[in-house]
């Protein structure tokens, strides 16, 4: 079971909402599919993202994938620790491996995301 306090996208990003701030990362399932992550390219602070817009790139030893914003909003902070330790995304996908913090533009956008049960069903279906 994936963490129940998060919202998920079909592209395997998660978002944790705290007030008007939204923290975004990728799921444990995504990291297993990608393999060892060697680089994460993140947006500049201050950039404004639309929901589902590409906000960065994650590179593993065998693939490169775009990262999509589960919700829209201004980038408040990016996880600087990933520059030197991209492997945090593999080891702590929901904690130390977070990627960006956004100012949530519109809480109603969360309705378009999956809850833990629906996301579990998605990955179970492969």
């Amino acid at each position: 079971m994936v963490p129940t306090d998060l919202h998920y996208t079909k592209d395997h990003e998660w978002v944790r909402v705290d007030g008007d701030e939204a923290t975004v990362g990728i799921t444990a399932y995504a990291t297993e599919q990608l393999g060892d992550i060697v680089f994460v390219e993140l947006p500049d602070v201050g950039r404004s993202l639309d929901q589902f817009a590409t906000f960065g790139v994650v590179e593993s030893v065998k693939a490169v994938s775009d990262l999509f914003a589960p919700v829209g909003g201004e980038v408040l902070e990016t996880n600087a620790a990933l520059t030197g330790q991209p492997e945090l995304v593999n080891s702590e996908p929901y904690e130390g491996g977070w990627m960006v913090r956004l100012r949530l533009a519109d809480a109603a956008q969360l309705d378009e995301l999956l809850d833990a049960t629906a996301y579990d069903a998605l990955i179970a279906a492969g």
Partner: protein
């Protein structure tokens, strides 16, 4: 690596495994109208006759000329070891095998190339390799756009006109390319106009991704590279240096003056001048831009048994994996030409390379004096290395008449830069270590006769004030 043709039995077995009866069936997905049916080729000829015909065609090339032509492609002496090694069957194949389990030699040779070039340009990362200097320069320009998320690039008018043309082609899809004018007169005539550059960088709401300048520039002049780089960086733009590799042994390398990317033509490194290439595009950058550089990168690592091993690295950015978001459409390299550069650099060595550059510069100084004495002075006063522009009346006609006498008097600048009136009577002439004093005397004497002036009477070894290395050496 060994290659053998498939037998009919091999093909039948493979088709059987696929459940197909003919090779044509493999291509059923491609509409018939798009398939090549018959190539427009002449009938086959016996090998002996074909060889005779090609030899006759090749004999029409003039290889007897005293050549002073450079303009981006340079004649150099190449140690016989270079071609001897290239011709070995392990290297001389149309395909570059990259699988590490069977290709350690190929991968090591690419690694060596990247290491040698990194030392020469003084930057962290070199990719192997691009079609030619123009393609590498265009890739460098695209790198600046990707890295800065800006879409406007400034290129000095003194970058080779062919490179600017290639840049325009690459930039025709929406990116903006603008040319920085050159200084019209005075000591800096013919080099990039720093005041104009500063104004272009300061235009409101038009941020610049990259600034491109060449060292030496197309006219052979030495550019104020540190100042160009500082102006670019102050505006948040990246700085691309277009370089000539042999000159790097005596000039400051791009890494020393803060260039973010170096691009250039590697032809002078053991590759004979040949019409249309293939040549060698050099592309190098800093660690900060490593994920933007297209082309092959080979790294050194250890295998499971702890032995030194070479592998392709940073593969994930490339076209076969990243599709339309790849760093470039470049997805392979011309390994044989990178190998030529590696063998050349290794056999000539660092001291030899300096000798090559210094001798070319010394000959150029002699040529300048000889030509000035017969009425063909330099156009620009600034320092140069081994190439410079001279002014002669009726340059195109003189060029043709010198050719009749077996002298290739460089490049008619009006052909290369038709829009620049300051170059209207210009010839761009060049010397390298293979230029002889006899050739210089021949050029000067012939020019004197054609111009109706006094005979050359130039003493060997005569130098001049405007020359070469002063103030520009590392």
């Amino acid at each position: 690596m060994h290659y053998g043709p498939h037998t009919a039995a091999d093909r039948a077995r493979m088709l059987g495994a696929l459940g197909l009866s003919s090779i044509d069936q493999l291509f059923d997905d491609i509409p018939a109208a798009l398939r090549a049916s018959k190539l427009d080729l002449p009938d086959p000829e016996p090998e002996l006759e074909l060889a005779a015909r090609l030899s006759a065609l090749a004999a029409r090339n003039r290889t007897d000329l005293a050549s002073f032509l450079g303009a981006g492609v340079y004649r150099h002496w190449s140690p016989p070891a270079v071609d001897q090694i290239l011709l070995r069957g392990e290297w001389y194949t149309a395909y570059t095998p990259y699988q590490p389990e069977i290709s350690q030699g190929t991968l090591q040779s690419i690694y060596e190339y990247e290491s040698l070039l990194a030392e020469l340009v003084d930057l962290d990362v070199v990719s192997a390799s691009h079609y030619d200097g123009a393609a590498a320069t265009a890739e460098a320009a695209l790198m600046t756009c990707r890295q800065t998320h800006r879409d406007r690039v400034l290129v000095s008018r003194a970058v080779h006109p062919h490179y600017r043309e290639t840049l325009r082609t690459y930039f025709s899809g929406g990116l903006q390319l603008e040319e920085i004018p050159l200084v019209a007169g005075g000591d800096a005539a013919g080099t990039t106009d720093l005041d104009a550059l500063e104004r272009m960088l300061a235009e409101p709401d038009r941020p610049v991704a990259g600034v491109i300048a060449a060292q030496p520039d197309f006219l052979g002049l030495l550019e104020p590279m540190p100042a160009i780089g500082e102006l670019a960086h102050a505006a948040g733009a990246l700085f691309v240096a277009v370089v000539e590799p042999i000159g790097l042994s005596v000039l400051a390398p791009p890494g020393a003056y803060g260039a973010d990317i170096a691009a250039g033509e590697g032809q002078p490194l053991g590759i004979a001048p040949q019409y249309g290439g293939p040549y060698l595009g050099i592309l190098a950058t800093t660690d900060a831009l490593v994920r933007q550089i297209p082309g092959r990168l080979v790294g050194m690592t250890t295998d499971l048994d702890g032995q030194r091993a070479f592998v392709m690295t940073m593969r994930a950015r490339e076209q076969d994996i990243r599709r339309d978001k790849a760093a470039s459409n470049i997805c392979t390299n011309q390994a044989l030409l990178a190998l030529a550069a590696s063998v050349y650099l290794t056999t000539v060595g660092p001291h030899g390379l300096r000798d090559v550059a210094a001798l070319g510069a010394a000959r150029a100084s002699e040529l300048e004096a000889a030509l000035a004495a017969v009425g063909a002075p330099r156009i620009h006063p600034g320092p140069y290395l081994n190439e410079f522009a001279i002014r002669v009346p009726n340059a195109r006609l003189i060029h043709r008449r010198l050719l009749d006498r077996g002298i290739l008097a460089g490049l008619v600048l009006a052909d290369a830069e038709p829009g620049d009136t300051s170059l209207a009577d210009g010839l761009l002439v060049c010397t390298t270590e293979v230029t002889t004093r006899d050739e210089i005397d021949l050029f000067a004497e012939a020019l004197a006769e054609i111009l109706g002036g006094r005979p050359a009477g130039v003493e060997a070894g005569a130098g001049s004030g405007g020359s070469a290395l002063a103030g520009s050496a590392r």
